[in-house]
Amino acid sequence: MTVQIGIQPISAARRIKDRLVQVLVYLAFALAVIPLVSVLWLVVKNGIGRFDLEFLTHSMRNIGARDAGGGAYHAIIGTLEQVLLASLIAVPIGLLTAVYLVEYGEGGRLSRIISFFVDVMTGVPSVVSGLFVLAFWILVLGMPFSGFAGALALSILMMPVVVRSAEEMLRLVPRELREASYALGVPKWRTIVKVVLPTAFTGIVTGVMLAVARVAGETAPLLLTVFITDSINTDPFNGPQMGLPLYVFDQAGRPTDTAIDRAWTGALTLILIVMLLNLVARLITWWRSPARRR
């Protein structure tokens, strides 16, 4: 029996298998990027034509079924108001919940239950949150269809995202900072407000922006709660409003080419808003991360 010494070359079969998997893995990535490129290309190509001042400054009021022109001003106003209201509801609740989970929960039973249901809440379908607001706010309490009802539905979708990202950021705050503050005789709540939250501030802002970007594109909950209108309604508490995603859905469902054009331009506007929010949020994290490592 001969004793082999030294490193054996890798057999051809193993090498080929290794190469094959490498090709497949690269292919998977390419496959995932194709739809993204295709979507963005088509939205820009079809949307740029009507992406003009009239689109951004006019509503659909008095625009006939076959008329060209008109715009999404009413929808943009609606989306901004609804998302702002949703944030005003979801951010305080989400942030305080995260503070509870990190600072007060201490792994107790209640904090484990809350933590579990935050995760489950992340999976609530957007259409279900819309149905809930429809059932509770509009049908049981008898409130009108309004931008605020839409904001309620959006806030339910925002809350778990805010909780999770804020929780993650609060856990990154070094224990020593808190202990130093306690050692100076600062009470716990002031330590949280003056030391912990400011330290985690940029991270929390990033999380909130990602949450906003997520809900700004939601259509289903708005469809069931704010209704559809062609006119400008700046009051989110009274009467039907419009939202940009809803506008795209509405225009896409109309049978004329001019409406389809408006739908594409609406989609372009929506993507620009959402991507911008995303990009800024990521830039903040990217800009902050080397500082954290140092």
Partner: protein, 313 residues
Amino acid sequence: MRRSAFRRSRGDGPFRFASIGAGVVLLAIMAAIGVFLVVKAVPALQANTSSFLTELTWQPNATKPVFGIGALAFGTVLSSLLALVIATPVAVGVALFISHYAPRRLASLLGYIVDLLAAVPSVVYGLWGVAFLVPFMLGPSKFLNDHLGWIPFFGGATVVGKSMLTASLVLAIMILPIIAAISREVFLQAPKTQEEAALALGATRWEMIRMSVLPFGRPGVISAAMLGLGRAMGETIAVALIFPATFKITIEILGPYGNSIAANIANGFGEATDVGRGALIASGLVLFLITLLVNMAARFVIARRKEYARAAA
């Protein structure tokens, strides 16, 4: 119980109370979703002249309301499962690419590009699906029907672009980023020592991944897939634009059939009467319960893995 040694300040009580209160509000919302959906669904279910669980048609607005969840639930489950089957292998490939194949410097940027897929709003996917994917899929669908028609899924007399397959493909694209992101995190956590040991013993990169990364990541990938499944089931607007909105149970995924609970809510809400709204809310309740179960199961798998990892450490 850990008690702080320092003197409690007057502000501590209210602040603590507020933060517990916020957590409880979250729990209350989850409970309220269930309660109020039931409250508004019951009158409609009582007005129903057929069995809600087995009836296929959906005519809650008629004078004698007839509606059932049968066909809708079937469509929801079939389209989501198809999406999962399409998306999971690609997502695992993407995750491996970013965690183990891509150049280190580029990895996070490439990961961000995949995450951007999740940032595209649902309605835009719907628009893209109708304008591009539906006509595009006609060719491949005909090919599948001609050559693989003996497989029941690809059979059927008529082949269209607005089919179950096209809708599932859009769903697959939409759930791909979440499956890829979670799998990527899990793969990155695979013990470096084992990877290095495998490489030191002469394993190729693929053998190293198969022996140390995949076994470690399996539970994570399973729960990621289940989270994706939950996402796909609740996806509304994109499929509402693509599904032909029929009420037929068939596995011919190339034919002009297909609908889902969520799509039916979006399409049927506009013309719904009182009973119609109740019926849609009842179907939403079913969707809520299904996604709740899928998500809780997924979270359970993750939680168990965390315990396991801590025990192993």
